[in-house]
């Protein structure tokens, strides 16, 4: 069920009402039932998958809990007789057993995700290799439907499992409460990927109706819908036109596509997250922020600390760090240090771990070479800029005034915006070679006069649409600037007239200028096929 459908709004109203009417201690039950109803409406046949993930995680954590409690009991009883080494050995054995349970659970859940999401992709590649070697046989490409939000809830649950193994998250004894953590409906579709220690307790704690929270939540939901319906879905019309006929829209169009797609994905993704966080806030639950003014970042590294924060931190905590400090990597470092000397040797493990992490990030975004190349390009930019750091430092020392100046800051932000936009356009075209050809055409075929002569009308948007998009961007920029220190909603809270004026205007703008209903058919969230 889309965020932008009337059914969802009705569903939301019912959930809010029941949540605050029913007695406090059953609130989390209401959320659980609502989440499963929401999931069933998206596709009853997928309930099995989310149930398997929940049950397998519950069993795994219970087993791990029993192993560590037996370990603690044993060590308490005969603390005195055992020597330090024996204790260490016993503790290592217990940890090994828990590690085994963890691996089994991870294998099962990531296995489901991999099979459903990547078999078709894998088969296609195998077939192409077979053809390359002239073999006639060909595997049939299975058409497996992807359960709603499987990538998000699998990652969130596996994060909990790893935290439980590491003793960072206390184990949830009640399977239903765990089921709520896995399937909390607002974040099912596109995250944010929450951590159990942040969200677990909040979900099951009773929340009295707080007018402030509820108002903030509703205001943020309206803001999310404004970005999504007025800007994102309207721009999508032009983007689809350009993607469907790449040969026709070459040259300057590609640059236009990069700009428009950056605007579209910002409005669509942050809008969706605003709706999610707004719903949670209205229920008295605080979710982690997923964005922090990403387009104001001055370098790719900073960008990836501000865009899709929860995904970045997930990959860092659960893939990058373990990968870079594990034993085989340590042995590899020693080996490289001997061969290449200290300087190179030091860099090898870090860079290898980064490349692997970004490869997996790309793969997670979608089952296609363009996503993988997208990940690796991001990684390349980060590593190269890290290598050139001494060069930058020299440049900044030579021109300190310039470096500190505002203009240089703007230049860096624009540079990062364009670079990220360029790499992100890999999502748009159907395959990687086409994307590179398109990037090339930006510099070879010059058709600027033709684009603004009349070409821009052929994209399916009229002048009025472009004005609305431009105004939408101005509003988004202004709100982002105003909300730098203190969120705009807080600033407006003590001035009711002004806040009603602003959010009333936004509400009317959504109804009037929103790209929904038969005039446009509101597109799916870009991330829905996750």
């Amino acid at each position: 069920m889309l965020f932008t459908s009337y059914e969802f709004l009705a569903f939301l109203a019912v959930v809010f009402l029941l949540y605050y009417i029913l007695p406090k201690k059953t609130q989390w039950v209401t959320l659980l039932v609502a989440s499963y109803v929401f999931y069933a409406l998206a596709g009853v046949e997928y309930l099995a998958f989310i149930a398997v993930t929940t049950v397998s995680s519950f069993i795994a954590t219970m087993l791990m809990g029993r192993v560590s409690s037996r370990e603690n009991r044993y060590l308490e009883q005969n603390r005195s007789e055992l020597s330090k080494d024996e204790i260490k050995a016993y503790r290592a054995k217990a940890k090994g057993r828990r590690f085994l349970i963890l691996c089994l659970a991870l294998l099962l859940n990531f296995g489901i995700l991999a099979v459903l999401k990547y078999t078709a992709f894998a088969v296609v590649n195998v077939n192409s290799w077979l053809h390359a070697f002239g073999a006639e046989t060909e595997l049939t490409i299975p058409s497996l439907l992807l359960p709603l939000g499987i990538s998000f809830y699998t990652f969130q649950t596996m994060g909990y499992l790893i935290d439980a193994y590491r003793g960072k998250a206390e184990i949830e004894r009640n399977p239903f409460k765990l089921a709520l953590f896995v399937s909390f409906f607002p974040q099912l579709i596109q995250g944010p990927i929450s951590r159990f220690k942040d969200l677990g307790a909040q979900l099951t704690a009773p929340h009295a109706f707080a007018r402030k929270n509820f108002t903030y939540g509703i205001q943020r939901i309206i803001w999310g819908y404004f970005k999504k319906l007025v800007v994102a879905d309207r721009v999508l019309v032009a983007i689809n036109a350009m993607i469907e006929a790449p040969e026709e829209f070459k040259g300057f169009y590609v640059f236009l596509l990069i700009i428009l797609y950056s605007v579209q994905i910002y409005a669509d993704f942050t809008g969706g997250i605003d709706i999610t966080i707004g719903i949670a806030e209205a229920l008295g639950i605080r979710l982690t922020e997923n964005f922090n003014r990403p387009f104001s970042s001055r370098s790719t590294k900073e960008y990836w600390n501000r865009w899709h924060i929860t995904m970045g931190s997930w990959f860092t905590d659960y893939i990058f760090y373990p990968l870079s400090v594990c034993r085989p990597m340590a042995k590899l470092t020693k080996g490289c240090r001997k061969i290449f000397g200290k300087n190179i040797g030091k860099r090898i493990p870090v860079y290898l771990a980064t490349v692997i992490t970004w490869f997996l990030t790309g793969l997670w975004h979608g089952a296609g070479w363009n996503f993988i190349v997208w990940g690796l390009l991001n990684c390349l930019v980060i590593l190269v800029s890290r290598e050139l750091e001494p060069l930058y430092a020299k440049f900044e020392n030579k021109f300190p005034r310039l470096h500190a100046s505002y203009a240089y800051g703007v230049f860096m932000s624009v540079r990062t915006f364009l670079l990220m936009g360029l790499i992100r356009s890999l999502d748009c075209y159907r395959d990687v070679p086409l994307t590179f050809r398109m990037w090339g055409s930006m510099f070879t075929s010059f058709n600027l006069p033709e684009v603004f002569g009349g070409g821009i009308e052929a994209l399916g948007l009229g002048l009025a649409d472009y004005i609305i998009i431009a105004l939408g961007c101005v509003v988004m920029f202004a709100v982002s600037k105003a909300g730098k220190e203190r969120s705009v909603r807080e600033q407006l809270y003590d001035r009711p007239v002004l806040s009603w004026l602003c959010f009333g205007a936004l509400f009317i703008a959504i109804i009037l200028f929103g790209a929904y209903s038969v005039g446009y058919d509101a597109s799916q969230f870009i991330y829905n096929q996750f």
Partner: protein, 75 residues
């Protein structure tokens, strides 16, 4: 402790590691720096810092890092 400071100095010579208390929080050290430090500590001190210990509190200052190393060493 001096050896530790030496390792940190190598990565960022412009930072005063004695005074600095917010190495991670203020963004001085990024994830790649942290991994470089951990591998260095492993080869220099023979102490393996497990992934779950890589949290801002332990890496925010040289003292905190030193405390972590000593804690892991004598267990």
């Amino acid at each position: 402790m001096e050896k530790l400071i030496e390792i940190l100095q190598e990565l960022h010579d412009d930072v005063d590691f004695y005074a600095e208390q917010g190495l991670v929080d203020d963004g001085v050290l990024d994830s790649l720096d942290i991994v470089a430090i951990v591998t260095e500590i492993d080869s220099e001190f023979g102490v393996r810092i497990p992934p779950e210990e890589i949290i801002p509190e332990n890496f925010n200052s040289a003292e905190a890092l030193w405390a972590l190393i000593s804690k892991l060493d004598e267990v």
